[in-house]
């Protein structure tokens, strides 16, 4: 799977409250959550984000709550994938479990500015900053997690295995 889109660059320790504040957690409707995605970090984000755009962020992206509403909101906003220096553990699990592609690559993050064009190859982990003509290799995803993604997320993997 290849994803090509514009970069939205964010800083370090972007917590789940900034991705989707608790005041909107009285719903789990993806379209509704998408409207408020990243609101407390950049109020213009949900209005201007386009399908396939890529969130690029510093260390510990998604720290805080276990709310799956965070990856749901990002995915429903049209974001193609998230590249960060590192991810908080629960956000990392949630993203794989529900099929939001994410990659850890500190070098690619360092090169990126908002508005750059990124091309990400999920299979090989190759990330190209097209604007700055640079190529990076993300940390490989463990085989089991690749299997999860191929199956279409945790629920589909379980269904396939029988329960």
């Amino acid at each position: 799977m290849k994803i090509k889109g514009r970069v939205w660059k964010f800083g370090k320790d972007i917590d789940t409250d900034r991705i989707i504040p608790a005041r909107y957690l009285t719903t789990s409707d993806p379209a509704e959550l998408a409207k408020y995605c990243m609101e407390d970090e950049d109020p213009s984000f949900s209005k201007n984000v386009r399908a396939g755009d890529i969130i690029v962020a510093g260390k510990n992206f998604g720290c805080g709550s276990s709310r799956e509403h965070a990856p749901i909101a990002i995915k429903a906003a049209g974001v193609g994938c998230v590249v960060a220096k590192s991810f908080a553990r629960i956000f990392f699990r949630n993203s794989f479990n529900m099929g939001l592609p994410i990659l850890e690559c500190p070098e690619a993050v360092g090169s990126a500015r908002t508005g750059d064009i990124f091309e990400v190859d999920m299979a090989s982990g190759e990330i190209r900053n097209v604007t700055r003509k640079k190529k990076f290799k993300a940390r490989p995803v463990p085989p089991f997690m690749q299997e999860l993604v191929r199956a279409g997320g945790l629920m589909k993997w379980i269904k396939k295995k029988g329960f």
Partner: protein, 419 residues
């Protein structure tokens, strides 16, 4: 092996596990709340599951927006109730029986030493205080565990934190964990287990241990854990509903890091906005006027916390223009606080007593902040906009500092109020 590795190995049916290994392990308890369970229940139905793996092992607690703050949150809670009725779940609580989940589960004996517990709430790591492996997950993970009774885990590396020396006056487990997070940062234990040990931990009360393990997630930890001992035995023997087992780390267990503290040097801590790692000694924060104080939550809404708050507030008045909200975390703590006369102290001081709820901790209800308002809270997070407006601020402290701050109307050391 470490205690974390032993519990994971046991539940995966393996003799041993090593950090980095991916395992499929049996889950003793799977927990969800009114924010996370509706998504899990939807996923449960979507793949055609009909029955939970064990009706005694799936626990649903509507505690975040309850008592229901609006029509939407009421609808979310109704999803839990209907599922609990349909599946005949043993452990479903609401109304006057419900409490903040991570205070309620240990108190009711639903979780115990040696258990493997997952919860669709990040603070599920609290039960490590009992010597259980417990960790927060998302709603899809909860759905998978509700159906199969199993879940995949990556065995974490462990970091050992050794606390020695003597605790100073007014210093509690909350201060030890705030100091730790201040030192290692909000991703200092990312993907790793945090094992708390040392002579100070051995003497620490269960309430303080629960507060420490509760905040492991604020350092990025997968779980926080304390080897069970006499204090654990004393706590669990009267309540735990299932057989339990004490695990302990081997002498030659491997740790990715060992960090030691001389506790006699640790003062009451304050985590300043907007991350739990922005910690300072209470005497170093300066003159910070405050609008609201919240004493409660899954971190510090327990009996010991109510007791220390009452001790500081006894015969005192909350400063004019400052709100004090006290939230006993469970019906038992509520009743016991009332019986011991602490409610009189809170009410005479000018405090508001709320029924058990997560409410203000996440800016839900019962104490939401306006732009420019500042709160001192015994909760676990001070992210941007956490307790309300994006331009509000939250300072995290222990209950003694919070109570003293309510009296002074600014962040204050308890010694300024109690002599």
């Amino acid at each position: 092996m470490t205690i974390t590795e032993k519990i994971l190995a046991k539940h995966a049916g393996l003799k041993e596990v090593v950090p980095g290994e991916l395992i499929n392990a049996r889950v003793d308890i799977a927990l969800g709340n009114d924010i996370t369970a509706p998504i899990a229940i939807k996923a449960f139905r979507k793949i055609g599951a009909k029955k939970v793996f064990n009706r005694k092992r799936v626990v649903l607690i509507p505690d975040h927006f309850t008592p229901n703050k609006d029509i939407q949150s009421a609808a979310q809670c109704k999803v839990l109730k209907e599922f609990a009725i349909e599946q005949r779940l043993t452990h479903y609580f609401e109304g006057g029986d419900v409490g903040v989940e991570h205070a309620l589960l240990p108190e009711k004996g639903i979780v115990g030493p040696g258990d493997l517990v997952i919860g669709a709430d990040s603070h599920t790591c609290t039960y490590g205080a009992l010597g259980a492996f417990s960790t927060g997950v998302g709603s899809t993970d909860l759905a998978a565990a509700m159906i199969t009774g199993k879940l995949w885990f990556k065995v974490p590396e462990s970091v050992k934190f050794v606390f020695r020396g003597r605790l100073r006056k007014w210093v509690s487990g909350k201060d030890l964990i705030l100091r730790t997070i201040g030192d290692i940062g909000v991703d200092g234990a990312l993907y790793r287990a945090m094992e708390f040990t040392g002579s100070v931990i051995k003497k620490l009360s269960m309430d303080s241990r629960l507060a420490m393990c509760n905040m492991a997630i604020e350092a990025g930890g997968k779980n926080g854990i304390i080897e069970p001992d006499e204090t654990t035995e004393e706590y669990v023997k009267r309540r735990t509903e299932r057989a339990y087992k004490f695990y302990s780390s081997d002498r030659d267990a491997e740790y990715s890091d060992v960090i030691e503290y001389d506790c006699s040097k640790i003062e009451p801590q304050v985590a300043c906005p907007h991350l739990p790692e922005n910690t300072k000694n209470v005497t170093e924060v300066g003159n910070i006027p405050i609008d609201q104080v919240v004493i409660g939550s899954c971190t510090n809404g327990r009996l010991e916390d109510m007791q220390v708050a009452a001790r500081v507030l006894k015969g005192k008045k909350v400063a004019k223009y400052t709100r004090l909200i006290v939230i006993p975390a469970t019906p038992f703590i509520y009743e016991e606080s009332m019986r011991r006369g602490w409610f009189d102290v809170f009410l005479k001081a000018g405090g508001v007593i709320s029924p058990p709820t997560c409410g203000p901790c996440l800016g839900g209800h019962m104490g939401v902040l306006a732009a420019g308002e500042r709160a001192v809270a015994t909760t676990n997070r001070n992210f941007v906009g956490r307790m309300g407006d994006v331009k509000s601020e939250v300072y995290l402290t222990n209950p003694a500092v919070a109570a003293a701050s309510a009296v002074k109307g600014r962040i204050a050391h308890p010694d300024e109020v109690v002599r």
